[in-house]
Symmetry: C2
DNA sequence: TAGAAAAAAGCAACATTGTTGCAAAAGATA
DNA sequence: TATCTTTTGCAACAATGTTGCTTTTTTCTA
């Protein structure tokens, strides 16, 4: 493993946590790193069972909660009762998420992607309903599984 | 309670179950009735704790599974790890769901609605991705809570 | 409509997932 | 480095799903 890359990565992790007013701890760095080195989204279980790392379940729950609160990651609803988490872009911060992109779940490899370039469409609601957040999840076959 | 309405309802329940090749049982009729007399969607917990009825948890799980398999109800993903179930329209059947409508979750009363008249939009995906099903969940304030 | 065969319900035991309080450990601060 | 604050990890618990098996209910057919 390249030592330099690890150091750079470590600085990036620390910077990200500090930016969000969080204290620097091993668990937070390790979990954040999982997200950074990962293309798709992660579920709680993914993180907990991550090879080589033994995270306490409670720590994972609490860390993810903090990350969501601070706008570092956002949640992605799924139809199988397993919330996925993915890194937010810069516009997100404490108390306000701005996730206007759609999510994509691959039927084949089951990876969940944030398609940051695809903006959620305007939805015309029936009279009486007022819209807040719009969540779009597309299920299909991803670029790696075609 | 009007007796006639109950009888009519009962016939409707039996018809619905028979149409889908299911045997007529008390649990199935009661759970199906909950959906019919309900505007929004129901979670597993909603059904299990329904006042006046004591359903065995296993029965509820198995019944919902059968209903989903037969295309009687469909699932609605949520961001809080609690799958909601709602009645399908006629076009759904065994092995194929055709839910092209969007779903709406009210922030205030937390009810989940199927907005059958609002069709899911076309989503333009990046190169390499092919779309199957598109799920849209809008969160906001419903007609009853304005 | 009774009796046999098939299907479903109910129960118990278990597995997984999520929550809470608290003591110990680690991080921040001066 | 000493002290204060925050976070972690543990234990105990609660809630949610799952599985196998026995009993009950439904269906089918004579």
């Amino acid at each position: 493993m390249p030592k330099e890359a690890t150091i750079i990565n470590n600085n990036r992790l620390i910077k990200l946590l500090k930016q969000n007013g969080l204290s620097i701890t091993d668990s937070r760095k390790k979990i954040l790193q999982l997200f950074l080195e990962q293309d798709g989204a992660l579920s709680h279980g993914d993180i907990e069972k991550r090879a080589g790392e033994k995270f306490d379940r409670v720590t994972v729950y609490r860390t993810l909660q903090v990350f969501v609160d601070k706008g570092i990651v956002h949640t992605i609803p799924t139809a199988d009762n397993s919330i996925r988490y993915a890194l937010c872009k810069d516009e997100c911060g404490e108390g306000h998420h701005h996730d206007h992109h759609i999510h994509f779940v691959c039927d084949t490899c089951n990876t969940t992607y944030c398609l940051d370039d695809v903006v959620t469409p305007e939805i015309k609601l029936p009279k009486g309903y007022s819209a807040g957040h719009v969540e779009v999840v597309v299920e299909g076959v991803c670029k790696n599984c075609q």
